[in-house]
Every structure is written in structure tokens, then in C-alpha cells.
């Protein structure tokens, strides 16, 4: 059993506070992803759990044991670094053997564990080469191999795929997910790439400025983001944000809003105060190009640039809001939209796909049952 938890974890660099009291519980065998923009503290949090960064206050527990003051070597975890950090003076075999020799594992046992790991990662042919003779993807495999031979309770990954090209990144993403299913370890994975987070994670921790913005499954983060930051961070192209105001409520389960001079539309979202300034959020993939014949907000979208990606068409343009101003929005369509740049077309967003944010950025609760994923 390898739960990991942090309690009121504070990390400071001189006068700068990098982590403001992080409380987090990671379950055994969970694949958890820390995601956030650069400077959000995601790597610092990972390194604090690893014991590579001394923390100012708070505690770290691994498998029920307080390891706050324990050496990284004795925390029973493995880590894959962004730049692989393979030992350049050792062969790949030497790199794989290093953690086992450090722990004083018997020679025969070392050989068999190195063999198993190298088979699993398809690096048997590379074992006698030096890291400098390997490609980026091969180095990545060896680095992962060095992490798994140790059979640790917890794996830490610090942006491991960011140095790989796009194609290889997708392949390694799938392989790491498979590896997790085989090994069933707890994995903590840091990335700034929300696609990696969405595709790999059991649960995602979204960080910003050293604070946790939201913890949840990819599904929860997508359908019920806690605030505007999470809403725009998760999903690509990112969620559109349009200023609006509430013009009425029907009970406390519905808020009627108006964008610019548009028609007031009731949304199934907890009621906000009268005439309050709000921000309407909707995802590009929820923009419809035909009247859906349900409650929906209608926009006249003036298109600027149309991107045909094959499976998806992205339309970048503007919609009018108050006082003759316009805001940029993005719409995505899976159907083949034939459209020239500069044309204006009617678009709709179903009420159930709308999000509302207060002026402080927090979400108003949506009364929508999220569709099942699987």
C-alpha cells in the first residue's frame, strides 16, 4: 500500500513562497497528475515529496509513514527526470544496475531484475551502449527502466516527455499508461501539458501560484471546473469567455443571462444576484452551427480565420457583446463546415453546455448531470 499525502506543506525560496500549505491525499495505485502553468509550483511539490527540496513547514507521508525528515534515498520511490539524468559514464546496464547496487541487492537478483525491466521497455539491445549513443526516446526508456528496477512504492515523473518530439510523446504517453496498468504502482506525474494530464490521469491536481485550484478526475475537471482558471486550463482549444449579466432567476436552480443585446436565456445554473456581472464560459466543441431546438444562446459569429485540421475545423472569430464591443471566440466542428474567412454565421450553444463564473473567478454550480465517459 503506497498512499502519499502532504499536509500544510509550505515551501519558500528566501522571501518567495512557492507552495502555500498544500494538503493532498493520493491513493494507493493512483495515477495522479500535477498540472499547471510554469511557476505554478507543480515541480516543486513533486520534488518536496521526493525529498529533494527541504520544506519550510508541513509534512509528507508515504505509505502511512512520516518521511518529512527522511533522506530521498530512504523514501522508497523512483523518479524520472525531465532531462533523463542518466549517468553518462555508465552503460545503460550500469545505469539500470545502479539503484540495485546502491541498495545492496544480490548479483543474481540484479541480473534478473535488469532483464525483466529491459524486456518490458524493449531496451535489451541497448544495454551495452552509453547514454550518449542513444536517441531521446531510447534515453527516456532507459530512464524509466532505471526507475522501475527498484520496484518502488511510488513513481515520480517530472515532465518526462517534454524533450521528445510530438509523435514520440504520444507513443510514450500510451506506454507509460500501459506500464502503470502492469506495475500498479502509485504514480505522481508532473506536466504542463493538459492533454497529457487528461489522457493519463486517474485524478488531476491543478496548481496555480503555489496553490491547488482543483483536484478531480479529468471528467470532473472538464465538466465541473471549480473556477475560471481550471475551466480555461483544461481543454483545447480553450474555453471561450464572454462577459454577460444576470437578468433574472426562476427559483434558485436557474439563472437567466443576457449577452449584449441578445435574447435573455435561462441556464440550468445556480442563481446569481440580479444584474450581477458574470462571465459566460462555453467550450469551442459545444458551439453548434444549426438551431438545436432546445434552450440555447444564439451568437452571430464573424469568422476571421478558419483552420481545417481534417477531423476538426476550428473557426476563430468575434461575437458582439455590450456597447458595440466584441470578444474573440473559437468554435470547433467535427462536421465539415464550408466557410470562407470573413463571413458571419449564426451559432448556438445549448444551455446545458454553459458555465458561469462570478467576478472573482469561482464557478456557479451547474445543475447538469455529466454524461458518462468510457
Amino acid at each position: 500500500m503506497a498512499e502519499v499525502s502532504t499536509s500544510k506543506l509550505v515551501k519558500t525560496y528566501g522571501a518567495v513562497t512557492a507552495l502555500h500549505g498544500i494538503d493532498l491525499d493520493i491513493k494507493d495505485r493512483e495515477f495522479i497528475v500535477f498540472v499547471g502553468p510554469s511557476g505554478s509550483g507543480k515541480s516543486t511539490l513533486l520534488r518536496s515529496i521526493a525529498g529533494l527540496e527541504p520544506i519550510a513547514s508541513g509534512s509528507v507521508r508515504i505509505a502511512g509513514q512520516d518521511v518529512t525528515d527522511v533522506d530521498p534515498a530512504d523514501r522508497d520511490l523512483s523518479m524520472v527526470f525531465q532531462n533523463y539524468a542518466l549517468f553518462p559514464h555508465m552503460s545503460c546496464r550500469g545505469n539500470l544496475e545502479f539503484p540495485l547496487k546502491s541498495e545492496g541487492v544480490a548479483k543474481a537478483d540484479i541480473d534478473s531484475r535488469v532483464e525483466i525491466a529491459s524486456k518490458l521497455l524493449h531496451i535489451e539491445q541497448l544495454l551495452d551502449r552509453k547514454p550518449s549513443e542513444l536517441s531521446g526516446g531510447q534515453r527516456q526508456r532507459v530512464a524509466i527502466g532505471r526507475a522501475i528496477v527498484k520496484e518502488p512504492k511510488v513513481f515520480l515523473f517530472d515532465e518526462p516527455l517534454s524533450n521528445l518530439d510530438a509523435k514520440l510523446r504520444i507513443r510514450m504517453r500510451v506506454e507509460i499508461t500501459k506500464l502503470h496498468r502492469q506495475l500498479k504502482n502509485t504514480i505522481i506525474y508532473v506536466t504542463h501539458d493538459q492533454v497529457e494530464a487528461m489522457t493519463m490521469a486517474d485524478r488531476i491536481v491543478v496548481l496555480r501560484d503555489g496553490r491547488i485550484e482543483q483536484v478531480g478526475t479529468p471528467h470532473e475537471l472538464y465538466f465541473n471546473p471549480a473556477n475560471q482558471f481550471v475551466a480555461t486550463f483544461i481543454g483545447a482549444p480553450q474555453m471561450n469567455l464572454v462577459p454577460c449579466r444576470s437578468v433574472g432567476a426562476a427559483g434558485d436552480q436557474v439563472t437567466t443571462i443576457q449577452v449584449g443585446d441578445g435574447a435573455p436565456t435561462p441556464l440550468p445554473i445556480e442563481s446569481a444576484g440580479q444584474r450581477e456581472s458574470l462571465t459566460l464560459g462555453f467550450r469551442p466543441e459545444h458551439v453548434l452551427f444549426q438551431d438545436p431546438e432546445c434552450t440555447a444562446i444564439r451568437f452571430e459569429l464573424k469568422s476571421d480565420v478558419v483552420e481545417h485540421l481534417g477531423a476538426v475545423t476550428n473557426i476563430y472569430g468575434q461575437i458582439p457583446v455590450e456597447n458595440g464591443e466584441e470578444v474573440d471566440v473559437t468554435a470547433s466542428s467535427h462536421s465539415d463546415v464550408t466557410l470562407r474567412d470573413g463571413t458571419t454565421l449564426s451559432t448556438w450553444v445549448a444551455a446545458e453546455n454553459c458555465h458561469l463564473f462570478r467576478s472573482d473567478g469561482t464557478s456557479l454550480t451547474r445543475n447538469v448531470i455529466a454524461p458518462e465517459w468510457n
Binding site: 530521498p72 523512483s78 523518479m79 539524468a85 549517468f87 553518462p88 559514464h89 545502479f98 546502491s102
Partner: protein, 284 residues
Amino acid sequence: MQSRGLASAMLNALVLLVVMALAFPIIWIVMNSFKEAADINAYPPVFLFDPTLENYKVLFDLADAEATNYGTLKIEFFKPVISSVIISIGAVLLSVIAGVPAGYALARYEFRGKEDLAFFILSFRFAPVLLVIIPMFQFFQAVGLYDSYLGMIWVYQIVTLPMIIWLSRSYVEDIPLEMEEAAAICGAKRPQIMLQVVLPLLRPGLVGASLLVFLLAWHNFALGLILTAKNTPVTVALLKLLNPGVSFYPVVSAGLVVSMIVPILLIMLGQRHLERGLTFGALK
């Protein structure tokens, strides 16, 4: 294409000029070491002569040195070469043992007055050695280090230690901290990280730095002149060949040639590392 050929020819000519300017004194000395005394002072200089090994025989006492106004000299040049080897290699080893950890600390740890300390260490290289040496002479005689190898190895640290500390600091800074962190996560303890990860990565740079510092030690003159009597290094022994009133130039030349052999041998041995160590750091 033609202008490029011309440019390259001119460049080659320039290089040749520089090589000749640099090599001429060495060639001259080597030639002199095989000449007889009469040919040395000949004007115009002689380039064609019957080479003789007489000077080398005198140097190593296989033949009697010339009788001088002061009597017959015994040179025993082998002894100062051995002394220089012991002192210089000893000084470099001590500097590496003491200096690499110091360089590591300066590279990896933040502490108050770090840069001041680093500068202070380097400042030993600024002081004129002769200024330090007079009090040193008295001190060495008082504690019984005068004319001892131990004393010389110790005092040579003025020459070698600052360089080793500064060079190893920059080599450590070239090793990504991730290497050490990775080793720590792998379960390695401090001593193991040092011996199995940091030192092997430092090795090329360190070999280069040691060679460089060895040359500084080998060529040092002032410290040996004042602080030794019998266990003189080779530089001081060469001076003693310049006896007043005696034409010893051919023997001095032979001594110079012999004194060059040890550094040349070491450089040939470590050349690969010298290039790597002095051009780019220890990694990548």
C-alpha cells in the same frame, strides 16, 4: 576558390612563423646540448657540428665535470629531477585531495561570504612569492620543514591549490545537479554519490587541471631557491650549473633538455584529457 586557396596559404605561412618563433629557443637549446663548448660561442652560430653526448655524461656524473677555479664540481643532476617529481606530484595530489571537495562546496552550497572566500583563495596567486618567502624561510627553519619534501609540498600549495579549487568548482558547476539527485533517489548515499557519480564525471577535467597545475609546480623557482638546500628542485639545480667564470652553457642546455622530459611525458600521457579538460567542462 582561388582567393580561398591564397588565404589558406597565407594563414599557413603565419602559423609556420608562429611555430618557428615558439620552437626556435627549444631547438636552439636542444642543439646546444649536443655541442661542444667551443661551438657554443662560435659566431656566426654553427648549425652543422659533430654531436656529442659529453654534456649529458657530465650532467649525470658519468664524466668528470671541468675543474673550475673552485675545484671539481659534482653535479648529480638525477637527484633534483627526482626531487622535482616528488615535490610537484606530491603538491598536485595534495591539492586535488584538498581542493576538489573545496571546489565542490563552492559550486554546490550557498553560504555567507562564499564569493569573498573564493576570491580570498584566488588572492594567493596575486601575492608576489618573494614577499611571502622571507618570513617563510624563518618559519620553515624554526619548525624543521626547511629543505624537506613535506615542507616543499606544503608550500607549493600556494601555487597549485587555488587553481585546483577554482577549476574544480567550474567543472562541478558543469555537472547537472539532476545527476546527483537521480543518484540520491536511486538510493545512493553521499559518499557513494561522490565516488560513483561526481568523481567519474569530474575526471577528464581534473586530469587536465592537474597537468596544468603540475607544470606550474614543476617550473616554480623561487620557493625552491630559498627553502631548500640539498633537496632542490630541478629549476634551482639548473641555476647552480651557471657557475661564475666557467663556460657551462652546453651542460646547462643538457640540463634544460632533461628537465623538459618529465612534463612532456606527462602531457603525452594525459593529452586527450588535457584537451577535454581545458576546452569544455566535464560533460555533454
